[in-house]
Structures are given as structure tokens and as C-alpha cells.
């Protein structure tokens, strides 16, 4: 089904809606939106994204696959749940947006360099490696993702916070040397691999 990336989708056909319903977490709710726009107005990140949730849902129904999956909108979600609370149709909008983000990432269509996506990736990678997130390595990886010079600048800017965390015993500078992992690192990794396999199978994904 990877040919979907390039397939021309006819307008206002079910194809893309169905794809979303089948492959996106809570995607079957998209059909229920009545375009009132309360989610768009309720989102605190509203001024920063390109498309509002309600507009994303209309785009899905209009078959605008490429534009939806490359949109940065769903990457902006901070899970504040304002939209879910206010939606008159009780759509789990937060979850749908996360689902769409995940799906576009899996398809490799998510916008490149999108910071949320980068953080999520780093977080995930750190997690999979040792079964826990290494705060120091994770922070440093984030600081240095845009190059060495920028990394130093970022680290300097965050110096105060870092020192505070060290003093409070929340951050151990020695973790840089490898850091500790969870007890059964291999077991966790196997578990994650299995979960991924199940999900892929369910959603018909290969990657």
C-alpha cells in the first residue's frame, strides 16, 4: 500500500478518508466533524499552525492526502485537551491529531526538521536504546541537533537550569559516560519490537 504516497486521489472520494479511518488512531471519528470550528478557536497553539483540526478533517474528506500528511498542524499539539472538552460532537481531536502525526511520520511524509517531531524522535530513540530516557544525553542531543556551534549556544543558554537540576539531584553529569539502563534492556526492546510488528500488521504498514 506504499503506493499511496504517489497515488492521485480523486476529490471528495472516500479513499483518503477510509485510509485515515483504517490506519490512524481514532481516525474513524473524522467523518463526524460538523465544521463548527470550536477546536480551531480553542487551540492555544492556534496562531502557529497552518491548518486547524477542523480544516484538517475537511481536507481529509476532500481527499487532500498530500497536504494533510505534510502539514505541520498535528505536530503542534500539546495535548491540552481544550478541543476535546469543547467539541460538540465529542470527537477525540487530540488523539486524532496525534494519530495523524504518527501516521505521517511512519509514511515519511512529516515535515522535515519539524522540532516536535525531532524531539519525539530523539526521545524515542533514547528510550528504545536503554529502556529509559537519559535526561543528559537527550538534552544534549537536542541542543546539538542543529550543529556543534548552535549546540554550545543552546547548552550555555540552558546552563542555569542544568545546574539547578544537578544540585537538586535530578541530573547526574556522570550519565554522559553511558548512563544506566533498565534492568532487562533486551526484554524491553523485544517488547517494543513486537508491539511495532502488531501495529504494522494491523495498519498494513511495512516500515
Amino acid at each position: 500500500m506504499s503506493d499511496m504516497n504517489t497515488q492521485a486521489v480523486a476529490r471528495y472520494r472516500n479513499n483518503f478518508l477510509k485510509e485515515v479511518e483504517e490506519r490512524v488512531e481514532d481516525g474513524h471519528w473524522v467523518r463526524m466533524c460538523m465544521q463548527c470550528g470550536v477546536c480551531a478557536g480553542s487551540c492555544p497553539l492556534g496562531p502557529h499552525w497552518e491548518h486547524s483540526p477542523q480544516k484538517i478533517f475537511m481536507m481529509i474528506r476532500a481527499g487532500k492526502r498530500e497536504e494533510v500528511l505534510t502539514s505541520d498542524a498535528m505536530w503542534m499539539c500539546t495535548s491540552c485537551y481544550n478541543c476535546i472538552v469543547r467539541c460538540p460532537r465529542k470527537l477525540p481531536i487530540t488523539h486524532i491529531m496525534h494519530g495523524l502525526a504518527h501516521y505521517s511520520h511512519r509514511l515519511g511524509l512529516a515535515p522535515k526538521g519539524q522540532p516536535t517531531r525531532e524531539i519525539a524522535k530523539l526521545f524515542w530513540d533514547s528510550l528504545v536504546k536503554t529502556g529509559r530516557v537519559n535526561e543528559l544525553k537527550f538534552s544534549l542531543a537536542m541542543y546539538f541537533k542543529d550543529g556543534f556551534g548552535q549546540g554550545i549556544k543552546n547548552a550555555m543558554a540552558m546552563q542555569g537550569v542544568g545546574l539547578g537540576l544537578v544540585k537538586a539531584g535530578r541530573l547526574n553529569p556522570m550519565e554522559i559516560l553511558g548512563g544506566h539502563a533498565c534492568k532487562d534492556k533486551g526484554g524491553i526492546q523485544k517488547m517494543i519490537a513486537k508491539a511495532q510488528e502488531i501495529e504494522n500488521r494491523k495498519k498494513g504498514l511495512t516500515a
Binding site: G37, V38, A40, G41, S42, S52, N82, P88, K90
Partner: protein, 431 residues
């Protein structure tokens, strides 16, 4: 106005708003005996509290006058105000109904001269004006109240004020010893014309009805526009009494919302369109003139109401924004409500200040939360569909969110169905 004993040939109509009055009058004008019970001290219901009707912009009290005249001239209807149904037993054609009559403390000898009102000093919230004003604790509910008889608020019974009212009444109509009474009556059929109530806007947290003074409801706005209302017909906002020239109307305040009322209340779009014309009437066009903004999901101006929508649409003082408003904040400096949301037609974010916000609150059946006889069938929003035994009927806004015209049609239909029940009872007994 009759004292004939109710039998299984009598129709009971519950609710004295326009639907109940219609159901009762239509049956009585077919020659049937009717008992009309009303919970409040006067007939007229919610329509009497409206300033004008859409789309003709005529006055509801005009029709009320004719219906009151019909009532005065018809010996077959017995009106019982301050009366509630507490229980219904029996079945189609043979119901036993328990009634509870609350004390009015004023007898039929009252001439509505107003002396008791002058004599008392205590004031109580004015229900007719949705509590926006106060009335004396001895009061006529409104100038067209039927029966035209004063009411004494229970709060002054046993106080010097109550005694003052009694002393002032030359007709001897004040009876402070009146007690709650109960009665059991027999009837053949029951029409539930219990109407609607405005959805409680306090529940819509993001709109701040409970904390922003200048956010009011559509029913309250009717009272502001009415010359008999608390502001003498001036559109003055609550916080500072300033003229509200720039008014926002928010549609679906409670309606079409699974968090509140899942149904569409039908009337609110037209009611808001009508209310934009109150603003226009008050301030006209121009720089400092009227400015109304309607925030909507779909404008439901059905059938020939479309004409009215078209007219308002072309009105330069009115603009439309396709948006369910997300939240309302208050500008603390001037008390203006600030509306936040997105116009979904093409996506435009707004944060707009208005002098006043009117929430077009939905219609909730008045019987929501009330235990009705088990046989009554209600839909998922508590509107009354009828009864399993086929002897009880919903009429008007008790049966569905309806405008006045449709409510009267519904009540007329319910009236005929009730007549059919008692006719069948009669023919069975004769056989």
C-alpha cells in the same frame, strides 16, 4: 370558568402557554369540557415574555389578547393556575389525576386594583423579567396576566408586609391563611403542553455567563427590548447600563452539542436574526449605529423564514461569521466581552470585542428532570412523543423544539387526538 365536575369526558391540558391555551380552546370550541392547569400564577407562558415574533415582528400579546378573549367567552374551560400535576393513575379514557394547588393568598374577589402592591414594601425577583428586575411582593405578574388577579409572594406571609397587603385590600381578597391544596380529578385524555425552558447558560463554562456581566441570554435580551421590560425597552447592558450598540449573537449556545443538548432547538437562528433588528431599530445605521454579529454553524431559517434571513443578510448593520465561538474573555478595563474563535470559512482567527453578548440558548423541555407518568414516551432529549396507551399526547414545545406557529399546529393536532380518545370512551360506554 365553569365548575362542572370533570369526568372521563373531560380533557386535561397541562400547561397554560400558547400551546396549552390553544389545545384547550380548540377542544372547548369543539364543545368538549376542558381543565387547563398552569403551574405559574398566569397563562401565557414563554411567548408572553417575548417582545416580538419573527418574522412579522408583531407582538405575541396580540394573539394572547384574542386567546384570553376566547377563554373569557367559553364556559367549557376551567382554568386552574398555580396548579401542578403530581400523579397520574389509570389508563386511556379513565385517568385519575392528582393536582397540587399552591396558595396564591389572593381570592377570586381580587379586582386587580393594585392597592396591595402599593401597601407592601418588600420586593422579590421578577420572574416575568427573568429576574432582571424586582417586583413588589404583592404583584400582578404582567399587564396582560390571566386571570387578572394579584399574587402574594409566600415570603411576606406572616410578616407585617403581608398584613399590610391584607389591610389595604378593600375587596377582602387577601387570604393569608390559604394553604396548599390537593385534588384528585377524573379525566379521559391528557395533553402535555408543558413547554420549554431556556437551557442553563451557566453550564457552558467557556462562555462565562456566570462571571461576565455583559454576557446574557436571548430570553433576557427579549426583556431588554420590550418597553415593558426592566430597561423600558432600552438596550442597556448589565455591567454599567451603557447602550449596547455592538452586539454579538452566539448561536447553538447549548444546542447541537452532545455536552449539553444534542438536538437543534430550531428557533434560535430566527430569534437571533430578529434580535439583530432590535439593535438596528434602536440605533440605526451609521458610524456609531447598530452593529450586530451573528456567530453560527448553520443558519436554519427554514421555509419562508428564508425571506427574513435574506433581509437581515442584506442589512449593513449585521454581519455573519461561520464559527462556533471557542471562548469569551472579559476586557477588565471596559467590561467588554472579547470573543475568541476562528471563522471557518477560509480560516480567519478573531478576537473581537463587543458591548454585549447574547447567547442564543437552546430549548430544553420543561419536564427535564421531572418524573412523568411511566406510560409517557420521551425522546432522547426528553421531548414528549405520546404515551403507550394512546391517551396522552405531547403538544407544542413539550413535544419538539418548535416555533410558535408550529407549536400551535401541534397543539391543535394534539387537541383532536384527545377528543378522539374521549369520544371512543363515550361510545364504548354507550354500547
Amino acid at each position: 370558568m365553569t365548575a362542572s365536575i370533570p369526568t372521563n369526558q373531560t380533557i386535561l391540558v397541562v400547561g397554560g402557554g400558547i400551546s396549552g391555551m390553544t389545545a384547550a380552546l380548540e377542544a372547548a370550541e369543539c364543545g368538549k369540557e376542558v381543565i387547563l392547569v398552569e403551574k405559574t400564577p398566569t397563562l401565557g407562558g414563554r411567548t408572553a415574555q417575548l417582545y416580538r415574533y419573527f418574522p412579522k415582528m408583531c407582538h405575541p400579546t396580540c394573539g394572547l389578547e384574542i386567546n384570553e378573549k376566547r377563554l373569557r367567552g367559553n364556559p367549557r374551560i376551567r382554568v386552574m393556575t398555580m396548579t401542578e400535576v403530581t400523579a397520574v393513575a389509570g389508563r386511556r379514557g379513565d385517568y385519575k389525576v392528582n393536582l397540587k394547588v399552591s396558595p396564591r393568598y389572593v381570592t377570586a374577589a381580587c379586582t386587580a386594583c393594585g392597592d396591595c402592591g402599593k401597601a407592601v414594601s418588600a420586593e422579590v425577583p421578577d420572574a416575568f423579567n427573568y429576574g432582571l428586575a424586582k417586583v413588589k411582593a404583592a404583584y400582578l405578574p404582567h399587564p396582560m396576566a390571566y386571570p387578572q388577579r394579584y399574587v402574594i409572594d409566600p415570603s411576606i406571609v406572616g410578616t407585617p408586609d403581608g398584613e399590610a397587603a391584607k389591610a389595604a385590600c378593600k375587596a377582602g381578597a387577601v387570604d393569608l391563611g390559604m394553604q396548599e391544596e390537593t385534588a384528585e380529578i377524573s379525566v379521559g385524555a391528557i395533553v402535555w403542553a408543558t413547554g420549554w425552558r431556556p437551557f442553563d447558560a451557566n453550564k457552558i463554562q467557556p462562555y462565562g455567563y456566570d462571571r461576565i456581566a455583559n454576557v446574557i441570554t436571548s430570553v433576557e435580551f427579549e426583556r431588554l427590548a420590550d418597553p415593558h421590560g426592566p430597561t423600558g425597552g432600552k438596550l442597556l447592558r448589565p455591567s454599567d447600563g451603557k447602550e449596547a450598540r455592538n452586539v454579538a449573537f452566539i448561536q447553538c449556545a447549548g444546542s447541537r452539542d452532545e455536552n449539553y443538548l444534542r438536538h437543534c432547538s430550531r428557533i434560535c437562528c430566527m430569534a437571533s436574526l430578529k434580535q439583530t433588528q432590535y439593535v438596528r431599530e434602536a440605533y440605526g445605521e451609521g458610524e456609531n449605529g447598530a452593529k450586530s454579529t451573528v456567530y453560527y454553524i448553520d443558519i436554519r431559517a427554514i421555509d419562508r423564514f428564508e425571506d427574513f434571513y435574506a433581509k437581515v443578510w442584506q442589512d449593513p448593520t449585521v454581519s455573519f461569521v461561520k464559527s462556533k465561538v471557542a471562548r469569551i474573555a472579559e476586557n477588565k478595563e471596559n467590561g467588554n466581552p472579547v470573543l475568541h474563535g476562528v471563522n471557518t470559512e477560509g480560516y480567519h482567527r478573531y478576537a473581537t470585542e463587543h458591548d454585549l453578548v447574547v447567547l442564543a440558548v437552546g430549548m430544553e423541555p420543561e419536564v427535564t428532570g421531572v418524573k412523568l407518568p411511566e406510560d409517557v414516551i420521551q425522546d432522547s432529549s426528553n421531548f414528549i412523543e405520546g404515551s403507550r396507551d394512546g391517551g396522552m399526547f405531547g403538544a407544542g414545545a413539550a413535544s419538539s423544539p418548535l416555533d410558535v406557529n408550529r407549536a400551535v399546529q401541534s397543539a391543535t393536532a394534539a387537541s383532536l387526538r384527545a377528543i378522539q380518545v374521549i369520544r371512543k370512551t363515550a361510545s364504548t360506554e354507550a354500547a
